[in-house]
């Protein structure tokens, strides 16, 4: 294996970098200079934060958490049966292939787009946001769950299968209990992710703190924006930490094998 990239390849990469930067305007120095000044003004306008909006922001953050919670649980309720259908040792290639394709299609669409779709379907507000988050969670959690199911110890599956049970019983008495801790950990991770996703659902009118964030940006009320951003940041960090601690609790106790 060569230690260094050939000089011609380095030159080619450098040329591609310069051309791309020029095309997207990053070599326009006067513009960049004006941008730096604007950033300075923007940062200046952020302070001092306007705390008079804290009440409205708190209500919106609670709504964001509700969107994330409902969206995650609805998504999980749909993802669990879909993931079982996508597990090869439970179902044949036709069913697993169809289930995996549906999950891949659902997952490809960003949650914000699902939000727009549900704003059209059920109108402006957090209901659209929760449904958008739910559908994205279905695609994402569905894949995580069937990968967890595939990782269940084959010896446990063989032992439980050998008692003469059917596929549903195998899922109930071997797959789900063996995967339970991992499953809860992924559910918590999805909730963390969805809290962040829900905080921008308001950009498309689907409820939550995003509505305020976008409004403050559009009306140039940066002091209010800072209040909303810091409040959101604090809540997201607190949830991340609580979730990480809970996940560790679920992942540690039974990580040992079952051998004699």
């Amino acid at each position: 294996m060569q230690k260094w990239l050939p000089r011609s390849l380095v030159m080619l990469l450098f040329a591609a970098l310069v051309i791309s930067m020029a095309n997207i305007g990053l070599l326009d120095l006067p513009r960049l200079g004006r941008g730096a000044l604007n950033i300075g003004r923007f940062v200046g306008d952020l302070f001092p934060p306007d705390l008079s909006v804290l009440g409205a922001v708190t209500v919106a953050i609670v709504e964001t958490l509700q969107i994330a919670l409902v969206g995650t649980l609805l998504g999980f309720a749909m993802a669990l049966p879909m993931a079982l259908l996508a597990t090869p040792f439970l179902f044949g290639p036709t069913i697993t292939g169809a289930a995996r394709t549906i999950l891949a299609v659902v997952r490809t669409v960003p949650s914000l787009f699902w939000g727009i779709l549900f704003v059209v379907a059920v109108g402006l507000g957090p209901a659209a946001g929760a449904l958008g988050v739910a559908l994205y969670s279905l695609g994402y959690l569905g894949k995580l769950l069937y990968e967890i199911f595939e990782g269940v110890d084959p010896e446990v599956l063989e032992a439980v299968r050998s008692v003469g049970c059917n596929r549903l019983q195998l899922a109930r008495f071997a797959v789900l209990p063996e995967a339970a801790n991992n499953l809860v950990a992924q559910l918590l991770f999805m909730f963390e992710y969805n809290v962040r996703a829900s905080s921008i659902m308001g950009f498309v009118g689907a409820g939550g703190i995003g509505f305020y964030l976008l409004g403050y940006i559009q009306m140039l009320q940066y002091d209010r924006l800072l209040t909303a951003l810091v409040a959101t940041l604090v809540v997201v960090i607190l949830i991340d930490r609580a979730s990480a601690r809970l996940r560790r609790m679920f992942l540690l106790p039974t990580s040992g094998g079952v051998g004699a």
Partner: protein, 210 residues
């Protein structure tokens, strides 16, 4: 008892007999009846119990749920999904645990048990299948001698009740004390088949090595 060095085909033999693997050719008869070719997702014969080397217990389930799972082929599928086992089955599971000396651990999770206790749970689960044949894959190989002896006494009692037990092992001491029938495998072939119990350890060791 089935003996053989590592890779001689002992586990493959048990999995073929259980229907967990499909044979490359020919037919397999178990309990006097030819087996259908396994597909990997079909229901298996509950009267043939299988205890894998690492026991295959579900660590997040309680002892009693693991044991009750042995009766899944005998209960209504929909009720079993909610763990609604008829009272008679629960009593039967508790009796099996009592007979094996671990009734007091019924509600504990399997991950909290010792090696010997897990062995007993695996046997109780197998008994819940009301088996005519138990296939056990080196399931005492990781136990201390005293626990191993206790487990083999239990196995002996089960065999005395008319349940056939096919057990793979490496331990000559176990073979000498408990075997009624000894088969030695080497490279997937049967190289010794003796139904007398006094096969000499030296002869066995020589046959295994080849």
């Amino acid at each position: 008892m089935v003996l053989g060095s590592s890779g001689s085909g002992k586990t493959t033999f048990l999995k073929l007999a259980k229907g967990l693997l499909a044979p490359g050719g020919g037919t397999i008869s178990v309990l006097g009846a030819p087996m259908a070719r396994p597909t990997g997702r079909d229901r298996l014969n509950p009267r043939v119990a299988y205890i894998p080397q690492q026991l295959g217990l579900v660590r997040n389930l309680s002892v009693i749920d693991n044991v009750l799972s042995g009766a899944l082929s005998r209960v209504d599928s929909a009720r079993s999904l909610f763990k609604l086992f008829p009272g008679g089955f629960v009593d039967e599971a508790h009796e099996a645990l009592s007979a094996l000396g671990i009734a007091h651990k019924a509600e504990e999770k399997v991950y909290a048990l010792s090696g010997g206790e897990r062995q007993r749970v695996a046997i109780a689960r197998a008994l819940m299948q009301q088996p005519r044949l138990i296939l056990a894959d080196e399931f005492i190989s990781q136990l201390d001698p005293a626990t191993s002896s206790d487990i083999m006494q239990i196995v002996r009692r089960i065999a005395d009740r008319g349940v056939a037990i096919v057990q793979t092992t490496h331990e000559m001491e176990v073979v000498a004390r408990y075997a009624d029938h000894v088969v030695v495998l080497r490279n997937g072939e049967k190289v010794l088949d003796r139904s007398d119990s006094d096969v000499l350890a030296d002869e066995l060791a020589a046959t295994i090595r080849g």
